[in-house]
């Protein structure tokens, strides 16, 4: 078995059939990490020893007749999500060495499902970025072309799956941080509806936008991981107390009569032609599979980027103010208490500082109404755009990102250019929708292109099945 190309579902079948063990699969992942991660750099922390122990336990449990959904499956976790007893840096020097004494809800769910946690993957600092170049540790490289970024902020999780170093992974998506790297790395990435997955234990960037998502090499793999982490958690007051459907069973491949909306605002002047062609071809392919194409409009799309860059930094400015070195994390010495805190906070990177400043400004007296207050109103308009659209269609199809993976360093001096990498993904976070990215071909350089499918509130099963139908038809 070539573990670097084996899907999660195949591995699960293999373990159920007894042809492969979790220890073998886990060791294979660790071997692959040793072989390629020196170049790709997807992991910040590899907890190999713990993983092998968990794998051995999983094998024993299976021998004892246990068969929980992810029993023995090696999974990677973005380093913004807490794993009890394992360092969590959030890609920042300000949390270097911080070991949380708790599991995030999603990690607890993975463990209950029997998953093996291989390690913690690289991320832009506090998930702020679209390339992992803002990680305080190192930049992750795109497994398809080491000179290019994997996307971000969950670039480590996407690259780990694309590079055969995990069978699935968890990321977080505040403005596109799961879908955009999935697109760049040629894997599937799902961003569930806000509240579908608990944020307990997930380091906050922008609380009203953050949501944990899943990566897989296939739609079925992505779904299998999502199935285990979805659900209500009373410790997250924004989590939705709604039944969790059987998403895996919903992957029928039948999309006859599915109404697919194509918003004019997402096919704009200046976008990469190869991306546009690939996405339009994919939509035509969905039609061939029985879907009905509907031209739609999301008229307030152009406000999404400015609205996002007011709301997300505003919330971040409050969420990040706690990192002062007093209770946990590294502490720098100073002349006095306040000076020590100032010196500790100098550990934040430039992009984080930029967003804290932006957010602080947007919330300041005299500016609140003009910036944050207005952004909230515009957010409602954007949200309503989607609700109106979903009266006519079942899914909305767009490109995931305007380009394929760009060169490392190409946008590091151009924050606005970097922000534009998320222009197609961040509207969704401002709404109550869910979305995913599924590979839909490559450009002339062989770089993956992603098709974004957006669904209405809690309609993950619909978009996963549409993506599944598309993916299966290409085989």
């Amino acid at each position: 078995m070539d573990f670097s190309t084996t899907t999660l579902t195949d591995l699960r079948d293999g373990m159920r059939a007894g042809s492969v063990s979790s220890v073998q699969a886990t060791q294979a992942m660790l071997d692959q990490i040793a072989a390629v991660d020196g170049d790709i750099k997807s992991y910040i922390t590899v907890s190999g020893e713990i993983a092998l122990q968990q794998a051995a336990v999983a094998d024993q449990r299976r021998a004892d007749g246990d068969d929980t959904p992810l029993l023995g499956v090696p999974i990677a976790v973005k380093d913004i999500i807490a794993v009890d007893g394992v360092q969590m840096t959030a890609g920042s020097k300000i949390l270097e060495g911080f070991v949380p004494p708790y599991d995030a809800f999603v990690v607890q769910k993975l463990k209950e499902a029997g998953a093996v946690i291989i390690g913690k993957t690289n991320t832009d600092e506090f998930a702020m970025g679209s390339s992992t170049e803002n990680s305080a540790y190192f930049t992750t490289r795109n497994p398809h072309d080491l000179s290019r970024v994997p996307g971000g902020s969950s670039g480590g999780s996407a690259a780990a799956v694309a590079g055969g170093m995990a069978f699935g992974s968890l990321g977080s998506d505040t403005g596109g941080s799961v879908r955009q790297p999935a697109s760049f790395c040629g894997v599937v990435g799902l961003r569930p509806t806000y509240g579908r997955v608990s944020r307990w234990g997930v380091t906050a960037f922008a609380s009203s936008l953050d949501q944990v998502g899943t990566f897989g090499r296939t739609v079925a793999d992505t779904t299998a991981v999502f199935q285990t982490i979805a659900g209500y958690d009373r410790r997250d007051s924004t989590s939705l107390n709604r039944p969790v459907p059987n998403y895996e069973a919903a992957l029928t491949g039948n999309i006859k009569g599915l109404r697919v909306g194509v918003p004019a605002e997402y096919f704009v002047e200046g976008m990469d032609e190869e991306v546009e062609t690939a996405v339009r071809t994919a939509i035509a392919h969905l039609e061939k599979l029985g879907a009905e194409r509907v031209e739609i409009s999301l008229p307030h799309t152009r406000y999404a980027l400015p609205v996002y860059y007011l709301i997300a930094p505003a919330e971040a400015s409050a969420n990040l103010a706690r990192y002062d070195g007093i209770r946990y994390g590294p502490r720098r010495k100073g002349e006095n208490m306040i000076d020590a805190v100032k010196k500790t906070r100098a550990l934040f990177g430039d992009e984080v500082k930029r967003r804290i400043m932006l957010g602080t400004y947007a919330l300041s007296a005299g500016y609140y109404d003009a910036y944050y207050g207005r952004a909230l109103k515009a957010r409602t308009l954007i949200k309503n755009d989607f609700l109106t659209a979903f009266e006519q269609v079942d899914v909305i199809a767009t490109p995931t990102a305007p380009t394929t993976a760009f060169k490392i360093g190409a946008k590091t001096d151009d924050p606005l250019g970097m922000y534009l990498a998320d222009v197609f993904t961040l509207s969704l976070n401002l709404s109550a929708s869910c979305g995913l990215s599924v590979p839909c071909g490559t450009d002339s350089d062989g770089l993956p292109i992603g098709l974004q499918l957006i669904g209405n509130t809690l309609q993950e099963a619909t978009i996963l099945n549409a993506a599944y139908a598309y993916e299966q038809s290409l085989l």
Binding site: A104, A206, R235, T238, R327
Partner: protein, 479 residues
């Protein structure tokens, strides 16, 4: 000469005695005695990814207070983040109600020294979380997060208060209500109840407000009254001299009895409030409010009125007994034990005898061993003339001391009243024979001697003689 009118508004912060903290499962502990940082968890320490969950009991306590303070209880409650940096604030923002608090537009009536009452309007009551405590010693700063996240209720009055004594009366009233509701111990020294007046002066008749100062670290209502009075005097002196009051926070120096500048507010602080994205709006429906209203005890004003009407107590006695809910409850239990003993009799014994014993022993009503039933039993024994009043007081002393019942004390000490007429008549006859001089004086018109003679009888009987019988016998013998 201009007369100045002092304008005072009060902010009261009351920690709620819920089982757990406002947003996490940590116990609410005594922040003075509990070892530092022993009632903390990742949530109240603000660790990454930790989220708040609203404490239902704390909300219920808040609804209780809002109802008791005659507020309109709000259905749509929103929590906001108040952003500011201080090491005792774990998340660097305080979760608090800003634009939509739990209670609006309330009032309480306060009792003035003149016996009149005055209505003080309450602007708002809102829920929030307390901060930790920072202490500086030997050049280092220590922080204890036990108190961080403890539910805190802020009660803001309108500027309807015009003197230190009114401020004190208002504070006492609020504390009494909080204690009646069982939501706060009222212990100002421990900081579970913190009172901060905003004080300004304006020329009488003016409709605009003068520059105000805010007074902090008042650890008693006496300090509130005296600090406010001092501040009024200080501001008046400045204004009369043509000066200007500086807007600032001032502290009260309890031993020097003066206020001193703590922090000058050059510009309004910008807390960058915004709705707490981790907490959806909290909807408090009418049904919930009604259910909570039904759990409210009889409140101080109602109790005070009822004691006077139903129990025929004087306003003073009623106020003394209704001051503390535990005393009131103890007293009311006693009233129900034996209908032959009037509430007035019980009130007299509680106020004049029991309180004296409690004061001497420095015990509260919860700490004494005498039960209401035991006191009423004693009063029954006095009423049926088993013992006389004097013996009754001695018996009560011993009950208080030893925890024994009245009956056992009376038996063991042989205090049963001598009501045997023949026996007493013999004693009286003997005494009159022994004190022929006194008898002669009495017959000669010195009526005072009668008291001496009664005293002699009581002495001879060790105080056990039935006084009425002694009186009758003497009358007969001296006729």
């Amino acid at each position: 000469m201009i007369t100045y009118e002092p304008i005072i508004g009060l902010e009261i912060h009351a920690e709620l005695m819920s089982k757990s903290k406002m947003f996490c499962g940590c116990k609410v502990v005594d922040s003075v005695t509990a070892p530092p940082n022993t009632a903390v968890c990742p949530v109240c320490l603000g660790m990454p990814g930790m989220l708040p969950v609203i404490n239902r009991q704390a909300v219920e306590f808040s609804i209780k207070v809002a109802i008791a303070l005659n507020c309109d209880v709000q259905h749509h409650n929103i929590f906001a983040r108040k952003n500011y940096f201080y090491p005792d604030l774990a998340k660097a923002y305080q979760v608090t109600q800003y634009e939509q608090p739990i209670g609006l537009n309330g009032w309480v009536d306060i009792e003035l020294g003149t016996g009149e009452t005055k209505r003080i309007r309450i602007r708002r009551v809102h829920m929030e979380e307390d901060t930790g405590k920072l202490t500086h010693e030997n050049g280092r700063s220590l922080v204890d997060y036990n108190r961080a996240g403890v539910p805190l209720l802020e009660i803001v009055s309108e500027p309807d208060i015009h003197s230190g004594e009114e401020a004190r009366a208002y504070g006492i009233k609020i504390r009494r209500i909080l204690r009646y509701l069982g939501v706060n111990s009222g212990d100002m020294e421990k900081g579970v109840l913190r009172v901060e007046p905003n004080i300004s002066l304006r020329p009488m008749g003016s409709t605009t407000f003068g520059t105000r100062t805010e007074l902090k670290n008042l650890n008693s209502f006496r300090a509130l009254a005296d600090g406010s009075a001092y501040e009024i005097m200080r501001q008046e002196t400045i204004l009369r001299a043509g000066g200007a009051v500086v807007q600032e926070t001032r502290g009260w120096h309890d031993s020097k009895r003066i206020t001193f500048s703590q922090r000058v507010k050059e510009e309004a602080e910008d807390y960058r409030y915004f709705d707490e994205p981790d907490l959806p709006p909290l909807f408090v429906d009418e049904e919930w409010i009604t259910a909570v209203a039904q759990t409210l005890p009889e409140l101080p004003d109602a109790k005070l009125a009822r004691y006077q009407i139903e129990y025929d107590l004087s306003p003073y006695d009623a106020a003394v007994l209704a001051d503390e809910i535990r005393v009131a409850t103890w007293f009311e239990t006693a009233v129900t034990v034996n209908s032959a003993i009037t509430p007035k009799t019980i009130a007299n014994w509680v106020i004049n005898a029991l309180f004296r014993l409690m004061n001497n022993a420095k015990l509260t009503i919860d700490e004494i061993s005498i039960t209401p039933e035991q006191l009423v039993e004693l009063l029954g024994l006095i009423a049926d003339q088993t013992i006389n009043q004097n013996s009754g007081r001695k018996v009560l002393d011993e009950m208080f001391e030893t925890g024994k019942t009245a009956v056992s004390i009376i038996e063991s000490k042989g205090l049963t009243q001598i009501s045997d007429e023949d026996a007493l008549a013999a004693i009286v006859a003997q005494l009159l024979a022994d004190n022929a001089d006194s008898v002669a004086a009495y017959c000669g018109g010195n009526k005072k001697v009668r008291g001496f003679l009664i005293g002699q009888v009581m002495r001879a009987t060790k105080g056990k003689a039935n006084p009425r019988l002694v009186n009758d016998l003497l009358t007969k013998a001296l006729a």
